[in-house]
Amino acid sequence: MINVVSRNILRMIFLVIFQVAVLDNIQVGGYINPYMYILFILLLPFETPKWLLLLSAFFLGLSVDMVSDTLGIHTAACVFMAFCRPGVINLISSRQEYEIGISPTVRDLGFKWFFSYALILVVAHHIPLFFLEVFSFHEFFQTLLRIGLSIIFTMFLLLLSQLITYRPKK
């Protein structure tokens, strides 16, 4: 149990640093900004209590916000994403896949499952994030374009990270 908790805390610290130090400096025409740190929420174990899910998403967003000087924006988006997570899992999982000791990864549940799981939640994160940042609907289509491009980029990184850490089942 302690092992799982510390592993997740380490993952959170690593992802926040990676986001701020590397990904936030990616610059492609002012449109693409991948947000890979939400991998933390995706990979939380199924058994995580719901209140812990929300609180850890809150602190994850808050830590990214404090460093990138965008107070509240990432926090709001992360909390919303965490709120959607149980519903999404119910929506795309059939009962038999849901065993104890299984984690929400490509390794345990397959590429197709992870892809749809990640895609829905990334959308649920990016839409509030970008609209809160702009804080108006004035530049609606420009914002939509930025959301779309960033979703593609974030998904790419998420899947890549799954490939890198892929270890076949024993």
Binding site: A21, K50, A76, E139
Partner: protein, 276 residues
């Protein structure tokens, strides 16, 4: 009453979500419109030192470029220095201190965090209130305007970049002193917009846009950019002007914060003017 509590406990997931979301939204609004709460400024010190650690690593990758820019600037300053100028005539102008007094002071600072890929971009500088930096001071580089100080902690300060939806820099066209405002519409960080220039003014591509000196943040004549495109929309009394920023915002490593020594006096005066 018991039923009510039962209801709360059963639906706690939703209510906790609502609570956290409201906290987050309040933070967004506060951050946008008011000075931030004191506890955030305290944590700014922690994140500030964290950022400067990251920066001290990443700056190695841009050392060549930064050196190049600094030496270029040194050369320019040297050539402006009076020591290296030949006197043109023998008349002597005596400037008493009572006639000219210094209006601006410059504090040099290192940029430890910068972004250009968001709709609202901020920079973080490694100088703060200890070095005399205050809110609303202007920030420039040797190539032009960067932004305005937004928050100050003891050793760090954050800057609202010109690349921000709320940023409005009072500007003018150098050759005819026509007054306008420079804003940024998002997208490419190299291009901004100059608004409020009436259509009777003659424009040429390549016209220089500089600060107007009407705000207390910037002195007059600081470079902003050059006109790269302009058009008149049908039935509009003002040009739609695209300008190319003179500063490459993606490669800023050092900046100067402008202290206006007369600011208090000007603000005091302006306070008495009724706002329409």
């Amino acid at each position: 009453m018991k039923n009510f509590f039962d209801f709360l406990v059963r639906q706690y997931f939703f209510f906790l979500f609502l609570l956290l979301e409201v906290i987050a939204i309040i933070m967004v609004v506060q951050n946008n419109y008011y000075q931030r709460a004191a506890f955030i400024n305290a944590t700014n010190e922690t994140t500030g030192s964290f950022l400067s650690t990251i920066n001290s690593i990443s700056q190695y990758f841009s050392l060549v470029d930064a050196n190049h820019k600094l030496s270029e600037e040194n050369a320019r300053l040297l050539s402006e220095s009076r020591k290296f100028r030949k006197a043109n005539d023998t008349r002597v102008y005596i400037s008493h201190d009572t006639v000219y007094s210094q209006e601006y002071e410059f504090v040099s600072a290192k940029v430890i965090k910068n972004s250009t890929n968001k709709r609202n971009n901020y920079l973080t500088l490694d100088k703060g209130s200890k070095q005399g930096i205050e809110k609303d001071m202007g920030v420039i580089t040797s190539t032009g305007v960067v932004g305005i100080i937004k928050d100050v902690s003891l050793n760090f300060s954050s800057v609202t970049s010109i690349l921000h939806k709320d940023s409005k820099i009072s500007a003018k066209i150098k050759k005819n002193s026509q007054l306008g405002t420079v804003i940024w519409g998002g997208g490419d960080y190299q291009y901004g917009e100059l608004i409020d220039i009436p259509t009777h003014v003659k424009l040429v591509i390549g016209d220089t846009v500089i600060t107007s000196g009407y705000s207390t943040s910037f002195p007059e004549g600081i470079m902003i950019g050059k006109v790269s495109d302009f058009k008149i929309d049908k039935g509009d009394n003002f040009y739609t002007i695209t300008i190319k920023f003179n500063t490459d915002f993606n490669s800023i490593s050092y900046a100067y914060v402008i202290k206006n020594i007369m600011k208090k006096e000007i603000d005091q005066l302006n306070k008495d003017i009724p706002n329409d």
